[in-house]
Amino acid sequence: MADALLEIDGVTKRFGGFLALDRVSLQVRAGERLGLIGPNGSGKTTLINCVSGALPTDGGRILFEGRDITRLPAHQRTRLGIVRSFQIPKPFVSMTVLENLGIPLEYAAPPRSHGAAAGALDILKMIGLDAKAHLRPAGLTQIEMRKLELARAMAARPKLLVSDEAMAGLSSAEVDDILAILFRLNEQGITIIMIEHIMRAVMRFSERVVVLDAGNRIAEGTPAEIVRNPAVEKAYLGE
């Protein structure tokens, strides 16, 4: 694919004798909304860890904007524009919400004309967390914690945002809230990979869905094609 932003080429990952990813290949176009689904233990988060640099791969290559990043440490990938949010929020607990955003603004975002604090407030306003800017994460609710996770990722000025189960455990209205934010980010030109178990959300959000099962890519297609795919049904429900 010529205009691929991210190209995962035959990536393999083993944990001891367990094959977590078996030569998985995947391309993501610039500006795309991609859903990544699969049953528990299928390798979704492992794949994301390999892309973000949290885990070294045991084989294959990862290209970002045509550049081989397979051996690059995680913080350098963030600076290139690959930013992730965590499944379980991992805020910097000793800092306020605003200071949380200051870290990626200072370390990852390309230098800009206006001050870092102003940039952070803009992001918080966009995500709807500006009223809590001077609170510490301990004072946030669950949904606010997820929003902080997204806001902090945004502060790193990503080209590719990987949202790892940003909605797990949220109420239906809260899921819509997060979805609206992600749609808005995508409109701003940010490519998004969404890992999610909430099918209603993934199917509504994604232009294309990739299904993993036991470390293999078993299906790919539009949401409508995926729900009709017998292999996907088998992976989720068994024979």
Partner: protein, 310 residues
């Protein structure tokens, strides 16, 4: 307080130290003051790694003694002067610090602490078996008459005032820079920090190296202070306990915490040594530390901050 203000305060403290050196008070004041100031250096240095980066180092004696024994080696081999000893003691301990920095790649939390403790034991065994620096029976230094000052007590006291001010200023500068903010991020959550663009390994190596440097600096004048150095006094467990207890009591997140902790606890120990018993030192530390961990886990500076916010 701006950087210039801090510099002015630093110079003022040094001036006060020189002034105190000029006063002809009881020589014991300089002797005890040296120890308290030495603990300001140790607690501040420890806190760069333990407080800012969150890696608890139990191996303070290793770094302190490495500074002291580097001095002994340089005195034996080259009759090197005191300023050279301080710089070299710091550099050798900084190298050890860089080494334990690479340990953080594999060891986190309590396992890192255990490894640093083990390091201290290993190093002590090596020194005990190295005859050139005195081995197990220790090393006696015959001091020449003190240059520039009327006694070694006053000279070393003044020197420690300068070293303490320099160490605190460096720690404060780091705390308020991008490095300090990056260290705080990795202390809170290392994985998230790395994913937010913080070069965690490089910052950790910086913290362990700098912390090691100043711990070595604190130990470098030690042979001149005691004139008789043996492994068990240079590798004293007191250094490990105090280095950790003082910042914990003062508060670990700012430069002021270790200073307050070192002055309070260090002074209390010196007073107790004279008035009650020299064995009471560790007991005081233990009791105070337990009280603080239970009642004010963020130390004195944290307590003050909490009271102010009300």
């Amino acid at each position: 307080m701006k950087t210039r203000g801090a510099l002015v305060v630093g110079v003022a403290v040094i001036g006060l130290g020189v002034l105190l050196g000029g006063l002809r008070v009881n020589p014991y004041v300089y002797f005890a003051g040296y120890v308290v100031l030495q603990y300001v250096v140790i607690a501040t240095a420890w806190n760069v790694l333990g407080g800012y980066a969150g890696y608890v180092n139990f191996g303070t004696p290793a770094f302190f003694a490495l500074g002291a024994y580097t001095s002994i080696f340089l005195i034996e081999a080259f009759k090197a002067p005191l300023p050279v000893l301080i710089v070299c003691g710091g550099l050798v301990a900084a190298l050890l610090g860089l080494g334990i920095g690479y340990l953080t790649l594999r060891l986190k939390g309590v396992f890192f602490s255990i490894a640093t403790f083990a390091l201290s034991v290993v190093l002590q065994t090596l020194i005990i078996n190295w005859e050139y620096v005195g081995g197990a029976k220790g090393y006696t230094l015959i001091r020449p008459p003190a240059p520039f000052f009327r006694s070694w007590g006053v000279l070393l006291f003044t020197l420690m005032v300068v070293l303490a001010v320099v160490t605190v200023l460096v720690a404060r500068t780091i705390e308020r820079s991008w490095i300090g903010r990056g260290l705080a991020a990795l202390r809170d959550n290392e994985e998230a920090a790395e994913c937010m663009g913080v070069p965690t390994l490089r910052l950790k190596l910086f913290a362990t190296t700098l912390s090691g440097f100043f711990l070595g600096v604190a130990g470098a004048p030690f042979p001149y202070y005691v004139t008789y150095v043996e492994p068990s006094s240079a590798f004293d467990l007191n250094y490990a306990v105090n280095a950790l207890a003082m910042p914990m009591i003062g508060g670990t997140t700012t430069w002021l915490g270790p200073v307050i902790g070192a002055v309070l606890l260090g002074t209390a120990q010196q007073v107790a040594t004279v008035t009650i018993s020299s064995e009471l030192n560790l007991l005081i530390v233990g009791v105070v530390l337990v009280l603080f961990v239970v009642l004010a886990p963020e130390g004195i500076t944290g307590l003050v901050r909490r009271l102010r916010r009300r």
